[in-house]
Symmetry: C3
Subunit: 562 residues, 3 copies
Amino acid sequence: MIRRLLEHYKDHPAIIGFQIDNETHPNSSNSRSMHAGFISYLKEKFGSVERLNRLWGFVYWGQLVSGWEDFPSREGILNPGYKLEWERYQRKTVTDFLRWQASIVREYARPHHFVTHNWPGGLRTDVDRYEIAQYLDVAAVNPYHPVQDRLDGWQIHFTGDLARSLKRANYLVMETNAQTIGWDSRTQFPPYDGQLRLNAYSHLAAGANMVAYWHWHSLHSGQETYWKGLLSHDLEPNRVYEEAARIGAELKRLGPRLVGFEPRNHVAILVSLDSYHGIQFMPFDDRVNYLTILQQMYRALYRLKVGVDFVFPQQKDWERYRVLLVPPLYIADDALLGRLVEFVRRGGHALVAFKSGFADEHSTVRWQRAPGPLRAAAGFSYQEFSTLAEPVALKGDPFGAGPENRASVWAEMILPETCETLAVYDHHFFSRYPAITRNRYGRGTLTYEGTYLSDTLQEKVIANVPALAGLNGADQRLPEPVLVRHGASREGRPMRYYLNYSGRPQSFEYPYASATELLSGAPVRPNQMLKLAPWDLAILEEEAPEVSDGARTKQARPRGVQ
Amino acid sequence: MIRRLLEHYKDHPAIIGFQIDNETHPNSSNSRSMHAGFISYLKEKFGSVERLNRLWGFVYWGQLVSGWEDFPSREGILNPGYKLEWERYQRKTVTDFLRWQASIVREYARPHHFVTHNWPGGLRTDVDRYEIAQYLDVAAVNPYHPVQDRLDGWQIHFTGDLARSLKRANYLVMETNAQTIGWDSRTQFPPYDGQLRLNAYSHLAAGANMVAYWHWHSLHSGQETYWKGLLSHDLEPNRVYEEAARIGAELKRLGPRLVGFEPRNHVAILVSLDSYHGIQFMPFDDRVNYLTILQQMYRALYRLKVGVDFVFPQQKDWERYRVLLVPPLYIADDALLGRLVEFVRRGGHALVAFKSGFADEHSTVRWQRAPGPLRAAAGFSYQEFSTLAEPVALKGDPFGAGPENRASVWAEMILPETCETLAVYDHHFFSRYPAITRNRYGRGTLTYEGTYLSDTLQEKVIANVPALAGLNGADQRLPEPVLVRHGASREGRPMRYYLNYSGRPQSFEYPYASATELLSGAPVRPNQMLKLAPWDLAILEEEAPEVSDGARTKQARPRGVQ
Amino acid sequence: MIRRLLEHYKDHPAIIGFQIDNETHPNSSNSRSMHAGFISYLKEKFGSVERLNRLWGFVYWGQLVSGWEDFPSREGILNPGYKLEWERYQRKTVTDFLRWQASIVREYARPHHFVTHNWPGGLRTDVDRYEIAQYLDVAAVNPYHPVQDRLDGWQIHFTGDLARSLKRANYLVMETNAQTIGWDSRTQFPPYDGQLRLNAYSHLAAGANMVAYWHWHSLHSGQETYWKGLLSHDLEPNRVYEEAARIGAELKRLGPRLVGFEPRNHVAILVSLDSYHGIQFMPFDDRVNYLTILQQMYRALYRLKVGVDFVFPQQKDWERYRVLLVPPLYIADDALLGRLVEFVRRGGHALVAFKSGFADEHSTVRWQRAPGPLRAAAGFSYQEFSTLAEPVALKGDPFGAGPENRASVWAEMILPETCETLAVYDHHFFSRYPAITRNRYGRGTLTYEGTYLSDTLQEKVIANVPALAGLNGADQRLPEPVLVRHGASREGRPMRYYLNYSGRPQSFEYPYASATELLSGAPVRPNQMLKLAPWDLAILEEEAPEVSDGARTKQARPRGVQ
């Protein structure tokens, strides 16, 4: 089918590239063929059932398997080691499928054609987008965002930063909100005036090279009747269409200066899909999980106006960042924990959440004091941990979080060795254990959170990490709903987006070098006041190109997207 | 089996009529034979799969069907056009089944025998009771009502008005609460003293010619052990039995004067089962739906002491009413909307809820500005609509609803053309759009609600519809829990029921012509004070027969029920 | 398999007894073989389908069965008689299976070996533990208790009193909390200092002769990774391990004086598994049920510091108690109700909850006024009952329950005959009916609760039962979190446990004869003040043996446990 399609279309002049399939993901299928595929995968990876009996502890409860033909299928499985490997296999089926599709498409594609695939926004845990992106020319996303009073930039930037990080390059928005989204009419929220435009430029500020809408006109029948396009069912121009036309006119004019924008960040968040699943199979809470903590860390950086990249365990060079935030790294082999220790030893600053280092790559808890291989770098060990039945304050509010000075959910009963205690619990029993510690190790530091923090506390603790401490420059003094994103234009000039995520006008002092506001064409001097209308933005490009930076990673640009 | 039963019983002197089956309804079955039946139904109605591919938009998501043998079964279907037609087919199976039963029974029934079928109370959306009633001699219902402190007349009258409207004739209560209802013992609410009697007369006031109980004595075993009869398990007389005996004695005495009571109404509510389902497949809210809005309109009239009939799309003569209330008429063909427009043009007053006119009979949204064929009569169009994330007040409280001045759920972004704006939103963005409009069209008016109103607002808006405006006569001045129902006795004398739905005594002035209170036999003069004990009632029959009214619809009376 | 295991291990010197299987229970399986087994069971018990048609009322809704081959399977059954018998059959499969296992084991066991089986804590309703215990030498339990701030003695004692009552003898704790419990990490609550020890001695105070932990060390993989043992995954000594070591050292020293402790009680609670299920199939509430009322009664006695045994319908000699508490005895044959009446007539004091006597052993409601055979002893009848939509106060707060003076859920509309009315409802309608009654019958009394009482009211009413009235001795004056348990040591000396279920120190006057506090070895004089540290306890053994008591039941002691 793929070959037929490509033979038909490959020479069409309107084709600029190929999107292979759409939002491909596994469906938790446990069919006979999926089971057979899983067995083949296990055979190749582990060799024998005896090895799996041992690795997964099947001796417990008399679950020993005597041969591959008796290997139990996924349904009804309780063993966390099995479940974790099954998730890996599920992800692999998607990677293999898309790699195979891409290889066929490349036989037909012309040199200027790119190959891409588009995922929904947010962090999808059932596909390995980083792995798949290695087989694509450019990453693409389908983000759908809340609008009206719930429009908040963080979700757009989270999705954009993640898409950009997949290939450390500009990405495409293949689909995003036109009028409204949702399969039925419960979530019909057309944007307020200006919001469609703000969202489009938000993506450009995160590194997008294209913003396309789903879709041109609203469908008159079928499942997506209420997933409305730029045109309503009447096919006449309308309020939203007029705003899209304005965006189009602006991009036609400014596109060559905006495309290829490259954000520059010194902070990264480590993403571990394995840890997400490992924790889900042994959850410590019903609402808080790996993903909510990762997002909490991201939102804290967002509020601090600090740009961030995402990095992945299999990625080779994340040691180059100055600060690494590590959501609960529950599942990790010794090598990965070793890299983290080495990152610190060589001068990096790591902020590590509870549960990290606890289990190995088979979801087996280590036969040593927690946090296992991280013990020396963390400067403590623990033998016990406890669910916190009620939230607990940190004694003396050491981070100045006021009414939000609150830990909850989990408390590791930390026994300090070389670490400094940053906070202890205000509690008749747990007060003997630190809640937050910091250890100097080699030339860097490892800050550890043994408990779940309130959003405000998380923000304060992150702002307290050495390389981020004293964070109170011009960016942090911006009005709360205004975000700034720094980077370089394609020509290497420092460029900044100022985005007003509110329905109120905002004003602030521009503190950087002389620049041009690209939308208006007006020159802007240092210390000049800038004003942003509701849901409006400014794009400032400095006049002088930035000084060459040898360490800068070369950026791959998608073919076909100039 | 039917023939065997009838051969055995048809000549028994105790038989007055036949109830065919009990509360028959489809069971959402998707069996092989139901699927085959559906295909036959589709072939006959639509002719070809190509036509359905086009009507239902199957080209979307690659769902095109190439032949009837590949036609997908109901399970997993997302397409709203398919779902809607499936619901019609489900209803048709019941209509066909009961029509077939009735035809067999009529072969055996003697001339004085009637044929009926009994449905539960409320508005059942999975059977077309109006259609089925055309094959019966008399409509019947099985209403079960809340009692004790939750006894409220509206549900009884809603059920009764609906049953009466099916054939525009008196109906039978085949089953209703005796002591308690419910399959288990969580809902054991025996009536307070007087409530059993009040409920029985309430049905008579709505047009019932019989009230029977479920059932004679309580069962000692099985599923309905706690669906208690007039006698408890001890089979001895008891408090509830004594009250039933009093009702029986009264009806034995007064029955000939009470039977055949004919309520007279100028207001009707249009019932569209298709619109209910069409909206359920594309819901605009989790709690508010077609049915809740229809009930809200009914309850508003109930509180205003305005009697109402129900009318149905396939009914020929609903244009004779002065006021027509139209719950969201989401699914409607051009002909039905044309009738509504014509109703207004000729002098009728329509109150139309949001979403009306939006989709055609295949759940396809019209390729024109909403509200489609209603545009000229409504005097506006709209291209956009929005979910309301939070309730919004109407600016300046134009209807005097006080703390209940509140719209919510939905807002159509109305662009007025010839209509008058009755209310706008008090909101930074939506204030530019009317919430409620009225348009004079021909000799009538169309009042339109572009949003969901609070109960109080709905009542105020209905009371503001031209033919109902200035509604503050003697009926509206009655104490709140007292309901009055107007009509004519079988002999053509004006007759009124005054029903006290409260545990407190009530008194009020009787404003009409001289009458006899039938229960006591006492004469009542105009402007005389009437007193009602808790949960008590009065039945007033005027002395002079009413003036003949040529326009009066002839009433069909059930055979066998004198 | 059993024979192979026993042949291998029976002569091993470390074996002291055999636990057959683990927490065996039915799994609601409705497999073909379970259905066949059920049919065989029915044939033997009832003889013919005609008899079941009649007993279960299958004539209703046309459910008559014409032969065993057509007998419907459990799925989809609504009939409560069928459901009740199915539950009995489910329980019987477990009893038969364990009896069979025990008989095989006994072929191999040596004379000093005991045979036991271990159930989870609480009252399991799907196995007949009393019946099964007749085939065992000693009862055992696997209780897991809340700890930290939620540690409360009542659950431990409830489980212990139940285990002891199965054979009226000492029992074994085969598994209980070590560090933490729970299949995942949401419920990780390691005990506060002292709680592990308090829990162990609590079991001894209830009659346990052994306390063992689940389990030695925490598992590194598999389903129970977070069901932590005495050792953590690091296998090193830790805080909890140290406390377990202290318990072990104390028991090594004091064990011979503590083992065989025999509590002495004059109050019993009647357990009816049939009534639990009968009510579940016809529930009167979503939260209150047979089990919650039984537990409410137990907790009231616990707070009153009154020790209690459990008795079972098939047990021969429960007439020896002075007070019998009867949770809703909804399912009972005439013989059982006759024993209850006879218990009262001969001088016993019964407290009986609503719904008692209502249905017979087939879940068939009796064809006579409720409470059926209890009518004369109760001194009233009733024909009606009602769900209470809202809580109702008892008029004049006759039991001094203050803000907790509250009945709810259910009200039987009691018509007094010879009984005294202890309380009526404060309600416009229900005030004509008593809420609580007491009847003198023969030499005893029957106190009846026609409604569901608040916890405080239940406690007050129990404390008002004749043989318990005036209950305000030294035990009742203990500080609230301190429990006392009375009994006799193996040598026949009066012995008492004082247990402090709180994190605060407690002190009180010791009112009994001179004794030795066993843990410290200190002598204690009458009226001396005793002090208990947080989560601590004292064990007082009187110096003189108790006077021989002819009525004392001989205690079976498990073989192998000295």
